[in-house]
Symmetry: D2
Subunit: 435 residues, 4 copies
Amino acid sequence: MIPRYTRPEMASIWEPLTRFKIWFEIEAHAADAQAEIGVIPKSAAAAIWAGGKEAEFDVARIDEIEREVKHDVIAFLTHLAEFVGPESRFVHQGMTSSDVLDTCFNVQLVRAADLLIADLDKVLAALKKRAFEHKLTPTIGRSHGIHAEPVTFGLKMAYAYAEFSRARARMVTAREEVATCAISGSVGTFAHIDPRVEEHVATSMGLKLEPISTQVIPRDRAAMYFATLAVVASSVERLAIEFRHLQRTEVLEAEEYFSEGQKGSSSMPHKRNPVLTENLTGLARMVRAYVTPALENVVLWHERDISHSSAERMLAPDATVTLDFMLNRLAGVIDKLLVYPENMQGNLDRLGGLIHSQRLLTALTQKGCSREESYRLVQRNAMPVWRGEGDFQTLLKNDVDVKKYMSDAEIAEQFDLGYHFKHVDTIFQRVFGES
Amino acid sequence: MIPRYTRPEMASIWEPLTRFKIWFEIEAHAADAQAEIGVIPKSAAAAIWAGGKEAEFDVARIDEIEREVKHDVIAFLTHLAEFVGPESRFVHQGMTSSDVLDTCFNVQLVRAADLLIADLDKVLAALKKRAFEHKLTPTIGRSHGIHAEPVTFGLKMAYAYAEFSRARARMVTAREEVATCAISGSVGTFAHIDPRVEEHVATSMGLKLEPISTQVIPRDRAAMYFATLAVVASSVERLAIEFRHLQRTEVLEAEEYFSEGQKGSSSMPHKRNPVLTENLTGLARMVRAYVTPALENVVLWHERDISHSSAERMLAPDATVTLDFMLNRLAGVIDKLLVYPENMQGNLDRLGGLIHSQRLLTALTQKGCSREESYRLVQRNAMPVWRGEGDFQTLLKNDVDVKKYMSDAEIAEQFDLGYHFKHVDTIFQRVFGES
Amino acid sequence: MIPRYTRPEMASIWEPLTRFKIWFEIEAHAADAQAEIGVIPKSAAAAIWAGGKEAEFDVARIDEIEREVKHDVIAFLTHLAEFVGPESRFVHQGMTSSDVLDTCFNVQLVRAADLLIADLDKVLAALKKRAFEHKLTPTIGRSHGIHAEPVTFGLKMAYAYAEFSRARARMVTAREEVATCAISGSVGTFAHIDPRVEEHVATSMGLKLEPISTQVIPRDRAAMYFATLAVVASSVERLAIEFRHLQRTEVLEAEEYFSEGQKGSSSMPHKRNPVLTENLTGLARMVRAYVTPALENVVLWHERDISHSSAERMLAPDATVTLDFMLNRLAGVIDKLLVYPENMQGNLDRLGGLIHSQRLLTALTQKGCSREESYRLVQRNAMPVWRGEGDFQTLLKNDVDVKKYMSDAEIAEQFDLGYHFKHVDTIFQRVFGES
Amino acid sequence: MIPRYTRPEMASIWEPLTRFKIWFEIEAHAADAQAEIGVIPKSAAAAIWAGGKEAEFDVARIDEIEREVKHDVIAFLTHLAEFVGPESRFVHQGMTSSDVLDTCFNVQLVRAADLLIADLDKVLAALKKRAFEHKLTPTIGRSHGIHAEPVTFGLKMAYAYAEFSRARARMVTAREEVATCAISGSVGTFAHIDPRVEEHVATSMGLKLEPISTQVIPRDRAAMYFATLAVVASSVERLAIEFRHLQRTEVLEAEEYFSEGQKGSSSMPHKRNPVLTENLTGLARMVRAYVTPALENVVLWHERDISHSSAERMLAPDATVTLDFMLNRLAGVIDKLLVYPENMQGNLDRLGGLIHSQRLLTALTQKGCSREESYRLVQRNAMPVWRGEGDFQTLLKNDVDVKKYMSDAEIAEQFDLGYHFKHVDTIFQRVFGES
């Protein structure tokens, strides 16, 4: 979590003060329930809310207490008592630290998920806009980095839209995974605290009950959450790599927006480098890296140990903040991407018509030529074109064996670009629900 | 995928012959659709089914062809033609290799998911059986590996049941993720093949349509799938570690079943080692390891490249076969686990009553003692017990400050084990829907 | 890099100001060389040193310029010019940003390695002290978590000493890997800068020449460095897990030092939890996590891209700061570890002599009993002991088949603990060079 | 380890029979030493060699025994006894399974390292050949995928040569890491076996002593080994990506060799896809994936557990076999790479001279123009060229502000390609020790 790659809204979720405020809410809601069922006086619950609701917790003071008692929740409760007064003895009754820590962690993950879902909506909106804008802008499709057949730039945006729609759905699922609350006391038996307290806190905080918590909220939930983030980050990288390729000097079909005043290179002033998408590539590596520790965190000893804590203190902010930054940066890149249809056309024309070879192959087959023979005929005319020794259409028209199956007009017909785009509407309809 | 850790049913999904049979099905269903819409003769579709349905594909022969043409799908089609005869020229028309390869891969992943879901059902059944069997068998709950408060062995099984229920739900979601079909031709534009063909193949094979495929089925789907497997494997490891701990010499609350004839150690014949769960621990590391390459596979170049292929040839069988083996082994370990309630009781009694300190703390607070003071009183009586210098209950009864708040009877009451289990039914109800 | 797990000395290596100071040094040494070979005036080099050596660089000001020009090195050079004046036009001549960035990064990695090596020396010193202190303190050796045969606590410290000696040697190698300097200009051809400049900067800064740099210092070096950190972190985790096991309630052979005032649990005041080593376990997961992005960073496009940069900005500080913290914490844990020889003896005695079964097996074999038969005899006497139905030595003396091979005295001899420690000196000599 | 990506020589290292032969050697050498120091009869040692040296071990038979006794080493020893006869009771005396297993594992890793080092020599030879062949073949250097300044194709091969030289050195170090032998008996105390046995076995098998082994050879060694393999695999990927980029349709500066009969695409016969290097990209992901489980294997419990075993059975063959395959495939790709100097020249000429902007910048500065002003002048002439609106040299000659500093002749001088290659010899000398 370094300033350069951090947006304030996501960062604030992970700030100590936010954590303390959530802790307070959990404790205060629990006190309400305890009062309701008669374990503590109703006046105590009221006093807790009164003292804590508007309290300006002093992070430095809590840190100072923690350095002495070496226990974060006790440090907080001690500080809280300074606001609440003697009634503070009713706070946290029957609870254990993990009740507070783990429920708070889930609240933070839920809030982070909400931001990430909003980020994905920005990415989706940008993709949709560019997809419709370039729905029929022809460009070459490439497999293995080699020219294959024509697609449209809109289709490239549409594949990404479909992928980020899945990303969004996955984030919604991931959010559900972690939206649980546990207030079950030591080793999770509810021996010291009535399950109704958990129910009240869960409801009050918009969470579901953790069915069984063994003190710790089981970390398979968080593991699934961070794994999901990594899949999303990999989808970001896929699109970032697409843009980096399109910006290569020899390709130059699209370019990241280059602001006035920006300098591309300290030594080569003409250069416009795809630094934003290169940056996204690197950050994707980081978000992926956090999956394995999150998976290892699942394996706690017995009812719980605390080994996950240090790892989570690092990876939870780092993963969410980084992905949040990535999605926002990506949305901006898409939105402002400079698209060069004329260069796309130039590249399409580069191979002297070879990109239509598949059509020829099919046409020959349909004319009764065996698949093997069609392949041979197409390939023997394709190879000279590849070597720059002629134009594909002309060569085919001069090939006596091809002529056995197809007239010149029939050959020419295979070179119509529009042929490739006849199902773009169908695909758009599937992806966007409109076309 | 090594024999020792491989079950035949899962392995067979990944055998070449299975792959070729799926390829054939895809091609033959596609031919049906092509015939239906009039692209190829209906007799051709019939001939394809007639020739291929019962064909005994010769894997060695296909390999031989592939060594020459260096292309697996062409090799297969060439071999298929040997069964189908001249009508084989109508096979694969308008399609591209990825249509066959990627749809087949998804079929394999779906089948693997079905097996894994069935495996999880075995694990769940075994857990439920042992949970109800030991619903009220007292045992010590441990946090940080240190005695905390009593739980029951049934609760340990119940936490695992809840976790594996989530695992099952995740596998169902993962299965959905990959249950798609793409028959969209080169670069995915349907230029050479009608979308109705894809619809027919999808329906026939129990798959959904891939909304947009750019020739390749996007690998974020597979990434999510393998990430899910890793989360499940980590849950296996968590339970494996639990059992390994319980079998430690000093703990010995449970033991893996030890068959007659089995030798525990080449040099120490008395030893019974938790080798099955140690094995699961190691295998979990492997299933986790396959996540990162699956994530990296998402990032293909442009409409597609083939870099994912080599990685998937290795990781897809390895991950599914290994997890399948793990879940079956785990189900067996749970089912046959030797459980020692008397040792559990012995360990419970070990700390001279200290495990009840939390109750005392609460009781003191409820009697009006401040939380800080209660903590101090409990701790000063706990420490001598910890050092083996007395029994907790006796010491408390002799502590003049404690006496100010509680009578001897009230102190004794805090040592009742049953107190801890009053909500076991509630928890079972939540987890199993019955108690 | 969060405050809680950060030591200031390591953190300061990664502060912006440190980076700018190193950048200045590189530029100024380069200017010296350029002046020496006559490319720039000697007075310019002198002016650069004069202006920059004591300059108090203003990080906020540089950030502000960077926000405008979107280029960190240009921002720095612009700021530097504010100190150096018009002669600043001679700074950076013929160089490219990567010359400064990559050489600086290596300087930082070297400094970090130096701190880590010093940390390892602390760990080694603590281990050696405890090893000799407990050279002959008997304790049970465990395989699979099951009692095996006696070792000494000193031997446990000695294995760790050997492992951390290897860790130290690896860190020295890793330091060598990254101790290189590249000043080769755009795409690394030295077209605009004489190789003698690189030689001078390298020598001045205690680095070796990068033989060929293609503008970027190849990242296989950094990958090897961070992989090494992860191996070291895993060794830390191994020892941390050892201590966590030893502190388990049922084992309690050693305990982390527990300071006055420290509270172990908010609810169970008697508990002393191994929180420091649990913390190390979690942090080890993080240091391991940084390996894969560092490996992915190797794969830059062509002469270079900048994708590694964002990943390194995060992982380089995080990995080095975290490992530095871990090693210091570990040294403290070892140094102050509470060791309980009496509990070790208690555990040794637990199995009624079964831990001597291997000796019996060997003795029987040496007396002419077949290995198979010996195994059977030992096992049939071991099993009742395991079930708590007798003492091993007594049972053996009563076994008529055993009596055929060994007298009572010979049997008794096999139970001598000292027998196991006769080679402790040999091992210490190997590990420490003294015994 | 799948046939397609497996070379027989490496695979044979991991075959059961190889393992059993190494086990036999360890046992037989140990017997020699035991006989020498008088623990067993010399005739027994002789009988062991006589019976086992030429024995044709029956893997299926050993497997069958193992299924019964569930212990691999006991199964082997039982089978060995069938060859050796009654003297077999002297085999394995005082040893433990790990002595055999771990020393054998290290022997296998050493042999694998030897093959990998030989593979690297092939890669280095191919690189050197192509480097000298194209030492002065001009091609454009690219940063961020954007044209930067000229390099030579030989320099590209030279950077790779330097990187693979480091890879080789790292493999030599990794081999050293694992070339150890442990014959120390249960829990590694030498209680039952004299250290001289270990010394003899080590010497006989070309290994060093493991200074202290706690029964298991510590896995930090293997972790370092597999981490090294992953760094090497990442270097393979870097070069594979370079070739994939060079083969892109728009770039086409080099191409993988395309054999007669090979079919590039089932539908587009003209296509020549970089499938070999795409394959290497995917396999690199796998070799990287094995690092984390190898790191996790370091963390064994106490003197040992067996969790590493299952992971190693999978990852050790997979990692070594895959990297061996990769290096051989890479050597072939390099050796037979089709290089197109004319296309390189074409690409060099593409940007209308813009690649010389850095030279202009420097030249202006040297003529007394401030760095800021020079940058501005170069950039304002570069931008029109970038937009295809003119030739860089012409524009500069027409720029009145540039003319203030440089004559037409001086401007023209900056466009000389040879200028960039004046230090190629220096670099070759550094990399190859010759030029």
